[in-house]
C-alpha cells in the first residue's frame, strides 16, 4: 500500500534497578526474566538488583 510503512521488529529488553545504589541497568531479555523478581548483581555496588521493567524496543 502507498501509505503503509514497514514496522521495525521489537527486541525485548530488561531493566534492572539496584536496591542499594538505585542504578538502572538495561540488558537484552533472557528467558525466565520476570518483573519484580531478582535480577543480576549490580555492576557498581555488587548488591542485588530487581527487575523493574521488561519492554520491546525497535531496532534502529
Amino acid at each position: 500500500m502507498i501509505f503503509s510503512k514497514k514496522e521495525k521488529p521489537l527486541v525485548a529488553h530488561t531493566i534492572e534497578k539496584c536496591l542499594q545504589c538505585k542504578k538502572e541497568n538495561k540488558r537484552p531479555f533472557k528467558e525466565g526474566d520476570t518483573l519484580f523478581t531478582q535480577g543480576q548483581v549490580c555492576t557498581s555496588c555488587k548488591d542485588q538488583t530487581s527487575i523493574l521493567k521488561i519492554f520491546g524496543q525497535a531496532i534502529e
Binding site: 521489537l10 525485548a12 529488553h13 531479555f29 528467558e31 520476570t34 518483573l35 519484580f36 523478581t37 521493567k53 521488561i54 519492554f55 520491546g56 524496543q57
Partner: protein
Amino acid sequence: MNYTELFSVDNLFGSGSDSSNPIMWIIWIVPIVLFVFYGQRIQLMVTSGEINKAIEKLNRYKDETKKELLDYLQKSKSTGDVSKKVDGYLEYFTIMPVDMDPNGIMPKIKHLLRSREDYTRKQVLSLAQDITPFEASKIQNLLEVVTSLNLLHKIVRHLFLTAKKQNNFPLILPLQMMLPFIMEQAEALKGAVSALKAGQPIGDGIGPMVVGKMMLRSQKTPIGLETVYAESDYEDRKLYLLKAEGPAATVGRPGDAVEILVEQKKPDLIIMVDAGLKLEGETSGTIAQGFGAAIGGIGTDRFQIEETATKHNIPVYAIVIKQSIKEAITLMTKEIADKSDEVEAQIHSMITENTTQGQSILIVGVGNTLGVPQ
C-alpha cells in the same frame, strides 16, 4: 502513413486540424464502451486480486501460528495426537443467548462464557503432561490466537466467495473497506505469539503492572479464580489492591472479585486502571482519566462492576493508558512501560483529591497479567 503524426499529442487531444482520423476515434471510443459495460467487472477483478492476497496472508498466519502452538506443545510433552485435538478445538462455536427479550441476558452470557472457559482449561490440561498453571495459561492464550485467526480467515473467505459466486460487486465493497482493519487485527494476533511463548508482559498488562508493583510488600489473598487482592495504606487511607494472579496469562475474574470486596470491605471509591485503544493520531502511552468501569471484554465483568457500584453508591474512576490494538496484545513497548510510575502518581493524586483520611479505596488493575507477578 506517418505514424509519428498519428500518435502526436495534438491529434490525441483533438487540438490538431484533422478531427476525422478513424484510429483516434477508436482509441477514444473503445475504452469508453469497455468501461461503461465492463467497468464494474474490471474493478471486481482488481479488488478480487487484493482480497485474494489478504486471504492467502490470513491462511498463512493461521498455519504459522498453529505450527508454533504445536511446536510449543511438543516441548511441553504433549499427550496423544495433539494436532487432531487442536483442529477439533478450532471448530468449536458459541451460540449466544436469544436477545429478543434482553432482560436477564447478562447472567446467561456469563454462564455461557464461563462454561466455555472451564471447558477450554480442561482441554488444555489434556493436551500436555504435568504442565504448570503458568504454562497452561500460555497454551490457552495461544489456542485463542489460532482460533481467532482461523475465524477471521473463514469469515473473509466466505464473504469473498459469496460475492464472487453471485458476481455481486456491491457485496465485495464492504469487505474491501473492512479488510485493512481485519488485517491489522490479524497481524496483531500473529505478533502476540512470540510474547506469549516467552512469557513477556504485553501492552494490555500495564494496569496489572502498576497495581502489582503497589502490592509487592503486602500479603496477597486469592479472591475468585486466578485473581488476588492485597491490603495496603496510603496517607491514612486503606487501599484494596486487586489484579489477576500473575505471571500467568490471565485476566482473572475482576467482576466477581469487585463484587465480593465491595460487599466485605465497603470501599468509598473504586479506581480502575486499564489499557485503552487509542484513536488514530493519538500518541501511544498517553494517560487519560475518566469515569466509569474501565474494562473490556464482552461486557459481563463491566456490567457486574457497574451493578455493584450503583447498588452501594460508590463512584468509579478510571485511568486509561492509550495504545493500538497491536501494542495491546504484543510485547509491551518502552513508551507504555515508561508510563507506569506516572500512572501510580496519578492514582495517588486521585486518592488524595477524592477521599479523606480514614476512607478506603479499591484499586483494580485490569488486563492480561502475563509476565507480571505481584
